[in-house]
Every structure is written in C-alpha cells, then in structure tokens.
C-alpha cells in the first residue's frame, strides 16, 4: 500500500470522476470570445432574410420580386419556383412526411417561409424582404386539433390528400397523421370494467417553445472549385445534419462539412433541419459565396419548432386501497401543418410508453392520435426525451387525482405503488426494462428533509381558518425518466441507429485529444468527458482536450438531445479509454518483464502485485508507446475509437417536493420551497450536475407557471416575442434545494445515467400538483398549465373564495 496522502495527492491531480472540477468551457465565454454562428464572418458573405406568410392558410396567387430586386444591396430573391429545378422546394421530414422548404402554391401556417432575399448586409436583406409582394387568397383555418377530424373540416395538405399512409399506419381523414397504440387493450379494458375505483381526467400539455437564448442560424459556404460545402450551424446534431444535407442535395457526404461551433442553448430547438438552412445552402451553391441566415426571436418562436401540444386523457383503475391495477391514457397530438415531429422511426409517439412511471402497474394501454392543423410544424422534445414530459405529467397528475378520490395521502399512495428496489430490473407492461432504482428511499429522504408531516399539519390549520388569505399547496413528484436513446435495435432516425462515439488519441507526453459525436450546448461536455478519461487512463483532466461538432474531425454520432451524451457518448468514451488502457497494460507488462496478470491498476499506474516499487505510470507508457520498445508485433501509438450501442436506455429518477402559497384574492402563486432529489447513478461532476438541475427546474417552472403559445381562431400567433412568451427572470425564479441518492446504472461502463432533463420532466408535474393540492379540499382535481395569476384567480373566483 502506498502512503495514503500520496495516493490522495495523485488522485487530486487527475481531477477525475466525482470531483467538482471547474469548467474547461468557461475561459472563452467569460471573455466574450465564444464563437457562435452569428459571430462568423467570411469574405464576400451575403445575408439571407426570409419572407414569411401573414396568413395561417392561403393560396399563393403570385409573387412579385421586382421591387425587392431593385432595392439597394439585394442580390437575389429565391422562391419555391427557384428551388424546383434542384428539387429542393420540398424536403422529407423525420416524421415520414414532407415539408415545404419554401411555400409551394399555398401556405399552411402563419409565418411559413415563402421566399428568401439575399443581400449584402442584414439591413439590405430586411429591406428587400419587406418589398417582396405576395398575392394571397385566404382559406379557412383549423386551429383546434379537436375539430381537425370533423367530416367537413377544410383540407390543409392537398399534396398528400390521396396518401393513405404517412409511414405509421393507415390514415382515416385528410388531417389524420397516425394512430399509435401500445399495451394490451382488451386486458386493460377488462381491468377497468371490474375495478373498485376508476378516475378520469382531461389533461393538457400546452404548446410551448424551448426558446434558447441564441436563435437558430447558419452560414452555408459552397466552394465551387472543390465542390465542398461547409455549413456552420447552431445544431445539436451535426452528423445527422450532414447526412440529411447529403440526402437532400445529392452532394457526396465526404464533401460536406458541418460545424457546430458554440451553441447558445438548444433544449431540443436545434435538432431539426429548418427551411432557412436549406435555402441558405442552395443560395450559396447558386451564388458561389457564403450565405448567413440567422433568425429573429419572432421567427424562432413562431416557426422553428414547438413542443408538446398533447391533449391527453388519463384514466386509472385501482382498488380501494389505492393500489393501481390498470392505466389507460390517450392523447390527441397537434402536429401542425407538416409532420416534422422529432422521434425515433419506430416510435412515432416517442417514448410516451414510459407513462407507467415509477409504479408497478400490471395492465396498461395508451393511444396517440396525431392530426394536422394550421400551425407551425416541429414537435421537438423540450428538455426531455421524446414525449417523456407528456407521459410523466399524465401519470404524476393522475396518481394525485386517484389519491384525492380515495382520500389517501399523496405520499402514501406513491409508496403503495412503487416498484421496490429489489424488483429491478423491472419490465413494464409497455415494454421498457427499468435498469435500477430505489424510489422508496428517495421519497423518504425528501419527506424527512422538508418535514412533510409538519407541512400537512400547517396546511390543515390554514384550511380550517376561514380568514387565511392564502391557500397552501404541497406537490409531490416521484418520476422515472427514460433517457440515452438508444439501442440501435429499436432506435433510429432516418435509418441511422442512435449509437454514439468517441475517438481518443494519446500523445507521447501524456496529452490527450478526444473527439465525440455529440454536441455540447452548455452541458459541460469538455469537462465531463475529460473527467471520465482522467479516471480511466490516469492522465490529468487538465491535459485532455475534447472536441465536438466538426464532422470532418469527430467520429459519427447522433448528437446531443434526450440526455444521451453521458449515457451513450460517455460510455463510448470509457470504452475507448479502456481499449487504450488494455494496450497500455501490455506495454507495462513488457517493460516490467512480468505477465499482465501480475499487474494491478492504481490511480495513474500499473504496479506489480506484491512489489509496489515496481510500476510504470501512464505517462511513462505514453512515451514508450511511441518508441520501438514494444511487445513483439505491437503497433506504435495509443489511440482508439469506440462506437457504443447501448444495451438499454437509462432510467434516472427523483423525488421532488414543492410548496406553494396562493393569494386567494389575486391568484398569485409563490413558490415557498422546492426540494429536488435526483438519482442519476454515478455522479461524474457534482457541480455540473447541480447546475443542470437548477437549469432544468427553472425551465420546468417556466412551463408550469407561464409558458404557452396561444393562437386566435384565424391562426394568428398571439405570443411570439419575449414581451409575451414567459422566460423567467432572476426575480421570479425560485430558490432550488438539491439532494441526491446514487443508484448506479448496471449497464453503463461508469454506472452513469443522463441527468439534465430529469428536473424538467419531474419538475413540471410537481408544480401543477402543488397548485392543485392547494385547491384539493375544495374538490378541485385538475387545473391545466400555465398556472399564472389569471387562471388561478379564475379558479378562486369560480369557487367564491376570493371575496374579502
């Protein structure tokens, strides 16, 4: 055994897994030296501005470019007719549909892309866009998805009116996209027929927008002499982006380079390929100069995807003790005018099937019906895996509804239905095998921390006091997430499996470069991956450089979304490092003239067992690997690449408590306390994890308490600027208390699960549960989000409790 303090010192030097190492990413950002897409300047670069439709549904009778073309600085105006010769006026979507790149004869939603003006600077481009004259003939509009399937509802998509199948089964109506169901319907129906208790509630996940602080944009640069296309773009998925561009353009994929650069937040918004990117690319090919297109905030909120818009119905069947026997959920999904929903090919309703949550429910069935309306397409997963927020919101709400119906405490009913720690791995009736968990311990820890019993007593006293000006609500959420897509056997996008990758090169003096298929947008990848490598290879994290996002440099991967970076690329990183370590061990055995079996690993070196003075450090081995002093037949170098196909997704979980005080007279809700316990398995950087939890909880607060995208009956967007769309400031944002348990993932090489989306998924129902709980004694079982003052006041007013 070495001296303990010496061992500790060596370990400290590595700053490996478990250390709150300060971030590698910060140095440039705090100096204002990040390199976001709008910071890029290239010689001869022109600017694109999109002309967009003021109508939600209209036929285009004509487009007059002449005034725009005469405007100073305008170089070109592109419309669908200009894209037709290269067959790029329409593009396929990941949802199995097609989407207009520029409106072809009609517009299907307000702000749809109609033309792009190319000009010498952004002012000239905006001037030109204002001068393009489009002659529209307005058509009837469908805004409410519940009216989309009425027999005489107007047809939105004339282009596919005869198509009976949009790759996900038969269509029954011109606005029907698919019906997706899973589980055993007959068995579940039978359980409901014979149940002692049944509860049912209509529950909406409103249309919202991820709204990262940086909008979407690109600089497309086509180099005529080499035929090489470079696209700098604010994307979460650089490699998939490259593949889609190759499919669309016919350019050899080897001649396309996509560069992510620095990304000013994504939250799902930067997964899709937007029309602006395609038009900018065509414009660069046509003009031979780089084209920059960066959207405004209004364009971003209006058209660059939305999330949710799931109109759900939850039903639970239980016995009179609150033990759930059956779950039946359905949702009407408003997909907008094109089915561009981001999802794995085999799961058109995403991972909604996680809707049984943390509970051992023996029978379950769900059905999702997706329809077209005159709204923007998109359907991204806003800080969650595909449709997971929608699913967990439903189950976490419904279990409260059941508790209220049976007058059982909301913590108690969760205890009665949890999977127990010894039951893992547990396969749910909808087919997911939950890897590991200890839900009971997590909940108990949280209840103790907030003195749950004391809070319930306080609440009872306030309810008994008719003069109390406030309502007190206690919300619980004991969620299970499903992240890290995913096994290629079940998860692909456009036929590409959702594996991910890491390539590691070790230099003679012990420096390391690691390149990955993911794309950081603030999640601290450079820091986190370095720490995995530092622990695996015994080389200091400070000397490890992580690169992502340049498709010419990094190995192929499916990018960063659905909390998949640590579960998939983090695993690839450990695997690549282990390949290197295995080779290093062979070299160490050779140098020490012992068998490999005689060696043991200690922090940063291989030691001969029983003879601690005989060792070789990794640094020494790094140098030797670049010499001729190697085992017979071994090649030089210490490099490896690993492609990781996860055997399963990972299932992080948590237990949250939220306490709110609601002013009966104004409907104003104050979050008194929010306590969040998360279990993401092995914790690589506690500081980074805590930062991700803070951010996710804040986005959950935003969704629950204020975000929505309303439309009027003509399809006009009523909230597409930051004047209307709620992004919390430091003043509204509550103080977050965080806690954790550690239940390692059994199938991840480091035991880690994803984490950054848990607080969003688990946080949203916790807020709603708290608000509804405040009204529970008055018979209220559900209130739809957002819980801003007006709807909460309406609830108070309806109950007559707002009178002084």
């Amino acid at each position: 055994m070495g001296d303990m303090s010496e061992l500790k010192e060596r370990e400290e030097k590595l700053q490996g897994m478990g250390k709150s190492m300060l971030r590698k990413e910060d140095a440039k950002f705090i100096r204002g030296q990040g390199n976001y897409v709008d910071d890029i300047k290239m010689p001869g670069m022109l600017f694109g501005a999109l002309v967009r439709s003021p109508y939600a549904h209209a036929r285009i009778k004509g487009i007059d470019k002449s005034k725009a073309l005469a405007s100073p600085g305008v170089v070109a105006v592109l419309t669908a007719d200009d894209l037709k010769p290269v067959n790029l006026h329409w593009m396929p979507t990941v949802g199995g549909d097609v989407q207009a790149v520029l409106a072809d004869q009609k517009v299907h939603f307000q702000m749809q892309e109609v033309a792009m003006v190319i000009a010498t600077d952004r002012y000239a481009a905006a001037d030109g866009a204002a001068l393009v004259e489009v002659d529209y003939d307005e058509l009837p509009v469908i805004v409410d998805p519940k009216k989309a399937l009425l027999p005489n509802a107007p047809v939105i998509r004339e282009d596919i009116v005869d198509k009976n199948d949009l790759t996900h089964g038969p269509r029954t109506h011109p606005k029907h996209i698919f019906t997706w169901e899973a589980g055993n319907k007959d068995a579940t129906d039978a359980v409901f027929e014979n149940a002692e208790v049944v509860v049912r509630e209509e529950i909406l996940n409103p249309r919202v927008h991820p709204c990262p602080l940086e909008t979407c944009g690109c600089v497309a640069s086509f180099d005529k002499p080499t035929g090489k296309l470079t696209v700098f773009v604010s994307t979460q998925v650089p490699h998939l982006f490259r593949t889609v561009l190759a499919m669309l353009s016919g350019i050899a994929e080897s001649k396309i380079r996509v560069v992510g650069g620095d990304i000013g937040g994504g939250f799902g918004n930067k997964v899709p390929i937007y029309p602006g990117y395609v038009v900018a690319t065509v414009a660069s090919i046509v003009t031979g100069v780089p084209i920059k297109w960066v959207e405004s905030r209004i364009e971003n909120i209006s058209t660059s995807s939305f999330a949710r818009d799931y109109h759900g119905v939850g039903e639970l069947a239980a016995d009179k003790n609150g033990v759930i026997k059956g779950l039946r959920f359905s949702a009407l999904a408003d997909h907008g005018a094109f089915n561009s929903h981001v999802s794995a090919t085999k799961f058109p309703a995403g991972l909604f099937s996680i809707c049984t949550g943390s509970y051992a429910i023996p029978n379950a069935y769900y059905r999702v019906d997706a329809v077209f309306t005159n709204k923007a397409p998109g359907g991204v997963a806003y800080r969650c895996s595909l449709r997971v927020t929608e699913a967990i919101y439903l189950i976490e709400r419904m279990i409260d509804v059941l508790a209220q119906k049976l007058n059982i405490d909301k913590a108690e009913i969760r205890r009665s239905n949890f999977f127990q720690a010894e039951q893992f791995p547990f396969t749910t009736p909808l087919g997911w095998t939950l890897d590991s968990g200890d839900y009971q311990t997590a909940l108990d820890k949280v209840l103790k921390a907030v003195d749950y019993d004391g809070l319930r007593k306080e609440q009872a006293a306030k309810r008994a006091d008719p003069n109390c000006p406030t309502l007190m609500g206690i919300g619980l959420s004991t969620f299970t997430e499903i992240v890290g897509a995913g096994p290629t056997a079940v998860c692909d996008i456009l036929g590409i499996g959702l594996f991910d990758s890491c390539e590691i090169r070790v230099h003679p003096t012990g420096g390391v470069i690691a390149r990955l298929g993911t794309m950081t947008q603030g999640q601290s990848h450079a820091t986190t991956y370095s720490q995995i490598i530092a622990t695996e290879l015994g080389l200091p994290a400070s000397d490890i450089v992580v690169e992502e996002g340049d498709t010419d440099k990094s190995p192929y991967g499916a990018g960063t979304w659905g909390s998949r970076s640590t579960p998939v690329s983090g695993a690839a990183t450990a695997q690549a490092a282990r390949k290197i370590k295995a080779k290093a061990k062979q070299i160490a055995a050779h140098l020490l003239a012992v068998a490999e079996g005689d060696l043991e690993w200690e922090i940063d070196r291989f030691k001969v067992k029983g003879n601690p003075s005989q060792f070789k450090t990794m640094k020494e081995i790094c140098m030797v690997s670049h010499t001729g002093n190697l085992p017979a037949g071994m090649e030089q170098g210490l490099n490896a690449v690993a492609y990781y196909d996860p055997p399963n997704l990972t299932y992080p979980f948590g237990a949250y408590v939220c306490i709110v005080d609601i002013d009966k007279h104004t409907g104003e809700t104050t979050v008194r306390r929010f306590y969040a316990l998360d279990d993401c398995g092995t914790r690589i950087n506690p500081m980074v994890i805590e930062g991700q939890i803070h951010g996710g909880l804040t986005e959950a607060f935003a969704v629950a308490m204020g975000q929505q995208m309303p439309f009027d009956e003509n399809g006009n967007h009523l909230g597409n600027t930051l004047m209307d769309y709620f992004l919390p400031t430091a003043v509204e944002t509550p103080h977050w208390e965080t806690d954790h348990t550690v239940t390692p993932c059994p199938h991840h090489p480091c035991g880690a699960k994803g984490v950054a989306e848990s607080p969003h998924v688990g946080g949203i129902p916790c807020f709603t549960n708290a608000v509804v709980d405040a009204f529970a004694h008055l018979g209220v079982t559900h209130m739809d989000m957002p819980h801003n003052a007006y709807p909460v006041w309406q609830q108070c007013n309806q109950l007559g409790i707002n009178q002084r």
Binding site: I30, G32, G34, E214, F267, T721, A730, W736
Partner: protein, 161 residues
C-alpha cells in the same frame, strides 16, 4: 440608401471612429464593424439583455440604442473587462461559482453585474435578483449567478479595503 455618419467614441479605453448609417443599431456596429462579437443578440425587444454594454456608466441594451447616439460617449463591453491579462473579479467569480453554461448570456450578464456592483457594492440576494432582472439566462436558473455576484462583491470589497 442612407448617408453614413462618422462617429467617435471611447471603446474599452481606446478612441474609436466608425462610419454608421443613421438607423444602425449599436449592437450591429460593435459586432459587424468593430468585430467585438462578445455582446450577443437574443431578441429584438430589449428583454433578454444578451447585448448589454456599459454606456457612460449605465447598463444599456445595445440592440435598442442607435450607434449615432453614442457619438462622444464612453463604452465598455465584455471585451474591456479583463485588464493587463487579469480577469475582472466578476469574470473570475462566474467561473468559480459555475455561473454560466452555454455562455450566450454571459457577456451581457457579466457586463451588467460589473455595473451593478458599482451601483451597489454590497447587494442583498434580492437586490442582486432585481439588479439582473433585465438579463435572461435559460441555462443556470440564476442561482449560481447570484452566488457569483456575491463572491465578486466580497472580492471587490477586499480589493478596495
């Protein structure tokens, strides 16, 4: 289309002259003509604060200031905070308290906090939260930003003591 006007101001301690259009926004002058891309554009309604710069001792949103209005003024952007190779206490504190993630709001945020701590060298948590309410962050939930401001305030107090 419009006549250019030559304006002169002091930018991060140096005298600068630049020709601008009458309608040109300061953020575009800084980013497109003076190549200072630290200040960012996150909205066009003065809400997000990513474009915050310091103009004559006040925090302003450079997306809603015309460049011509800055003739003869004194400007400080994030690029001017580091002095002689030493980070400003606010920048250092943001790093140490993990007050940033994607980094897009950071230049505007630290520029605002630089001014906030001049206005109020010892702010309470509530004063900090109100003091940065004009700067939106989508990543951090502000909690570590508040910590960073407190840390910077302590350091600055020690420096001047």
């Amino acid at each position: 289309m419009s006549q250019l006007k030559k304006i002169t101001f002091k930018l991060n301690g140096k005298e600068v002259s630049v020709e601008v259009a009458p309608r040109e926004l300061l953020i575009h002058t800084l980013r497109e003509k003076l190549m200072l891309t630290g200040s960012h554009i996150g909205c066009e309604t003065s809400h997000c604060g990513a474009c915050t710069v310091d103009l004559d001792g006040l925090s302003v949103k450079s997306c809603t200031v015309l460049a011509v209005q800055c003739d003869g003024s004194e400007l400080l952007t994030v690029e001017g905070l580091e002095q002689g190779g030493v980070l400003h206490a606010v920048q250092q504190a943001f790093h140490e308290a993990h007050g940033l993630q994607c980094g897009f709001c950071t230049p505007g945020m630290v520029t605002r906090v630089y001014r906030l701590l001049k206005e109020n060298p010892n702010p309470s948590e509530q004063e900090i939260r109100y003091g940065i309410a004009g700067n939106l962050c989508r990543c951090t939930g502000y909690q570590n930003i508040v910590k960073a401001v407190q840390l910077a305030a302590q350091r600055l107090a020690t420096e001047t003591a």
